[in-house]
């Protein structure tokens, strides 16, 4: 938990500063809105975090969301697919495409960056092609109340996407931090060779991480599609993978692999959304939006790096004194 503490303090400090400067931050409607966005972004960020822990990367998230969004819309409004089959198909397509990424990476030893960069380009193009570059919506089709509720509704005042995020976070927390799979994932990310010598099927572990990330991307994708209520194939989800990567890295995931935590990713996601909110509330020109985010991520990761090194030094010292005595 120590590792997440620093970034958590940064989050709290930012919240306090914003609420002092603009008390509207604490309005229920603002907080709800914030929580909704944290929910929608947090779910796929967890998936990305798992991939990053393997030492990989997944760049196709935003394009995948555009593809899944128009796919969802066409299934529901044009092809007359039922709601439940549509949701399942959407998740299935995403998992199959992610499985392909995983297999290309583990069986053909291709670099994750290249494979998923091609995915980023390919899915975006595909989304634009099948829609003739036209924006898709969900119109007035009946029976979509459930999906609209999941994206826009509240449960006891808590936005549904946030509720879903918490549930998914609990499951993935157990998976990552308490299960055999999670330990294998960390071992593989730290040192795939040593993991293999310990009898771990590293290819399967890595592929599984991409597939889980695919499923979580689909869930986020459906929520975001119904939240925006229209999907423009050329822009929908643009650069979302970068939000996910930033959240994971802010939360302590190392791009070298083998490091990270669910709690960290959640805090990282929250921090990013608070930053976006802050830009609005403090009247910072929205053109500076990305610059603010970039600066805060840099500071956060830098501080974390310095603290980690200090901690490692302390452990070495402790080791020295323990063996000498």
């Amino acid at each position: 938990m120590k590792k997440e503490l620093g970034i958590f303090i940064l989050l709290v400090v930012l919240c306090i500063i914003v609420s002092i400067k603009n008390p509207n931050f604490l309005l229920a409607i603002n907080l709800q809105n914030l929580a909704r966005q944290i929910g929608a972004f947090g779910i796929f960020s967890i998936g990305l975090g798992l991939v990053i822990i393997t030492g990989g990367i997944e760049l196709s998230v935003g394009s995948m969301m555009a593809l899944l969004g128009v796919f969802m819309s066409m299934m529901l409004t044009e092809w007359g697919v039922g709601v439940v089959p549509a949701i399942l198909l959407c998740i299935l397509v995403s998992m199959v495409l992610s499985l392909t990424h995983g297999l290309l990476i583990t069986r053909l030893n291709m670099q994750p960056f290249i494979v998923t960069l091609c995915g980023l380009l390919f899915y975006r193009g595909l989304a634009r092609f099948i829609t003739n570059d036209e924006t898709k919506g969900f119109g007035t089709v009946a029976g979509l109340d459930f999906l609209r509720y999941v994206a826009n509704g509240n449960l006891f005042g808590i936005p549904m996407p946030f509720v879903l995020l918490i549930l998914i976070a609990l499951v993935t927390w157990v998976l990552l931090h308490r299960s055999v799979y999670g330990r294998y994932l960390f071992a593989t990310g730290r040192n795939a060779e040593a993991a293999r010598y310990a009898g771990i099927n590293t290819k399967r572990i890595i592929t599984a991480a991409y597939v889980v990330a695919g499923a979580l991307t689909a869930i986020s994708g459906i929520i975001i599609a119904f939240y925006t209520n229209s999907v423009s194939p050329a822009n929908h989800g643009n650069a979302y993978e970068l939000y996910g990567i930033a959240a994971a890295v802010l939360g302590g995931c190392s791009l070298r692999g083998g490091e990270g935590s669910i709690v960290g990713i959640l805090i990282g996601t929250a921090l990013l959304q608070v930053l976006r909110n802050l830009v609005n509330l403090l009247g910072i020109p929205s053109s500076l939006d990305f610059a603010v985010m970039g600066a805060v991520i840099l500071i956060g990761v830098m501080a974390d790096q310095i603290l980690t090194e200090r901690r490692n030094r302390r452990q070495v010292t402790q080791m020295r004194s323990a063996t000498k005595s």
Binding site: R178, V180, R183, R196, A198, R320, T323, K324
Partner: protein
């Protein structure tokens, strides 16, 4: 040798780390053209002392003198300017460049002009001249990646010499070299001495020290533990000074008769062809309770054989039987499930996840047995780790210590501990004591013997002659992918092993 001022004097050096005195009033002097062996167990302060000399860290008190002049060495670059060069245990050559580029790195000859383009003809000419002078038969345009470890090490030495170094510090230079390569290196060291270069030679391999050192300086627990002149240097004296007591015999006497007769071909490798030597089939048996040593030069295919048996490398052909049952190992998991384990050559990159702590490393291959419904019980892991720490004497303040912070010997024990939590049938050790100090070596040997006495078939791959002769009940010698002969204990001798290792038919 009229000039009596030593070229290097480290006088009364002390260095304190928080909570530890790493060096306490240590003195070391080196004369021009002298080979001084610096020996001591891991943690005795050798590397701290050399780091101070190299300018990587500063000392709390004490003086460094070069040719009688007090020198303040604040960075590796300043050390280099004073003519002090290091050959480290881990090679620091760049294997994406060629030989010449490595030798003249940061000192490339350049053409005139503002762009400072590299003068390539001169670079290769100078490199070739230098290599010829050292008697190295290497074209300077060879990419480093095409050279063996030993050749890469020689390139590093060539680089040190090309800077005009007067003092060269070699830290375990032979730890990854084969016997012939080691001899080659020792020749070069003697040749350097003849050219008035001074050498500080750090090694755990005491017979090398016996062979080349003019003087041996022993450190123990951060203090000078004594010095031996050329005519006093012998193994027993050095060991006694290093450990501060008489070491009982390093090797528990091999006892090959116990269970051997009962199951002579318990573990039978009937045919094995590896990717490295696809045309050469290897076959051998190991009895229950037998230690089979595998000797040979580096590159003779021993490690490849071990990895292929364990399922890390894919076999071209493999027919392996354990207790009569035919085994098919496609992955390490298959081997592990049948009780066949490998303690790999490279601890830090293959044996352990060094960023994991001791507990996590020990439980890793056996994780299912510490978990219920795939959820790990940390308590069960800790219990197992604590009992392993105690039973094989792993020196760590707690099972939560990162493996990276342990010494080589203790890391090796952690690798071993993970297999001991199963019930091993066959264990393959690949260079089990590389870079491990004398005390820990003895413990590893005792553990190997204990395993054998419990009925485990043990295979020990070793490039250390003393080790392979000391630990084995029987030795198989390999040369270029084939087993050139087996030696029984009565036939054991350095000459017999060398004879087979260099390719003579058995």
């Amino acid at each position: 040798m009229e000039n009596k001022t030593p070229i290097l004097e480290l006088l009364n050096i002390s260095k304190r780390f928080p909570g530890v005195i790493a060096l306490n009033d240590v003195t070391l002097t080196v004369d021009t053209g002298e080979i001084v062996a610096l020996i001591g167990e891991n943690g005795a302060g050798k590397s701290t002392l050399m780091k101070i000399l190299g300018g990587a860290i500063s000392c709390d008190s004490g003086t460094v003198k070069i040719e009688g002049q007090t020198a303040e060495i604040k960075s590796p670059r300043e050390a280099s300017a004073l003519g002090i060069e290091f050959i480290h245990q881990e090679l620091s050559v760049l294997d994406n460049l060629d030989v010449a580029a490595n030798i003249f790195l940061r000192r490339e000859p350049t053409k005139a002009g503002p762009l400072k383009l590299i003068d390539r003809p001169r670079l290769y000419r100078d490199a070739d001249a230098l290599l010829a002078k050292l008697g190295l038969d290497l074209p300077s345009r060879t990419p480093l990646s095409r050279l063996s470890l030993a050749q890469q090490q020689l390139v590093e030495i060539a680089r040190a010499i090309s800077t005009g170094a007067r003092i060269i510090i070699m830290d375990e230079p032979t730890s990854s070299l084969s016997l012939t390569e080691t001899n080659r290196l020792l020749e070069i060291v003697k040749d350097l001495k003849a050219h008035n270069v001074s050498i500080i030679y750090i090694s755990h391999r005491l017979h090398e020290v016996e062979e080349i050192a003019d003087r041996a300086v022993v450190l123990r627990d951060g203090r000078n533990a004594g010095e031996l002149a050329r005519n006093e240097i012998n193994r027993d004296r050095m060991v006694r000074m290093m450990v501060g007591r008489d070491l009982k015999e390093l090797f528990t006497t091999a006892n090959g008769n116990g269970l051997k007769g009962k199951h002579p071909d318990w573990f039978a490798v009937e045919t094995l062809r590896t990717q490295r030597y696809p045309n050469h089939a290897v076959s051998f048996n190991v009895a229950r309770g037998e230690v089979l040593g595998i000797a040979g030069l580096v590159g003779s295919g021993r490690s490849e054989m071990a990895r292929t048996i364990f399922g890390v490398d894919e076999a071209i052909e493999a027919k392996i039987k354990l207790n009569g049952e035919t085994l098919k190992f496609a992955t390490p998991r298959d081997a592990i499930n049948h009780g066949v384990y490998l303690v790999p050559e490279d601890r830090r990159s293959c044996g352990l996840v060094v960023d994991f702590n001791v507990r996590e490393n020990i439980s890793l291959p056996n994780l299912e047995s510490y978990s219920t419904a795939k959820i790990i019980s940390t308590a069960k892991e800790t219990t197992a780790a604590l009992s392993a720490v105690k039973s094989i004497n792993i020196k760590t303040p707690s099972p939560e210590m990162r493996a990276a912070n342990l010494s080589g010997g203790n890391q090796q024990k952690v690798v071993l501990a993970r297999w001991l939590t199963f019930s091993p049938k066959v264990i393959i050790f690949d260079e089990p004591t590389r870079g491990i100090d004398v005390g820990a070596k003895a413990e590893i040997y005792a553990l190997i013997r204990k395993l054998a006495s419990e009925g485990v078939s043990v295979i020990v791959i070793s490039s250390e002659m003393e080790e392979v002769l000391g630990i084995s009940d029987r030795i198989a010698v390999m040369h270029e992918g084939r087993i050139t002969g087996f030696l029984d204990r009565s036939q054991f001798s350095e000459e017999a092993v060398m004879h087979l290792a260099t390719g003579a038919a058995g």
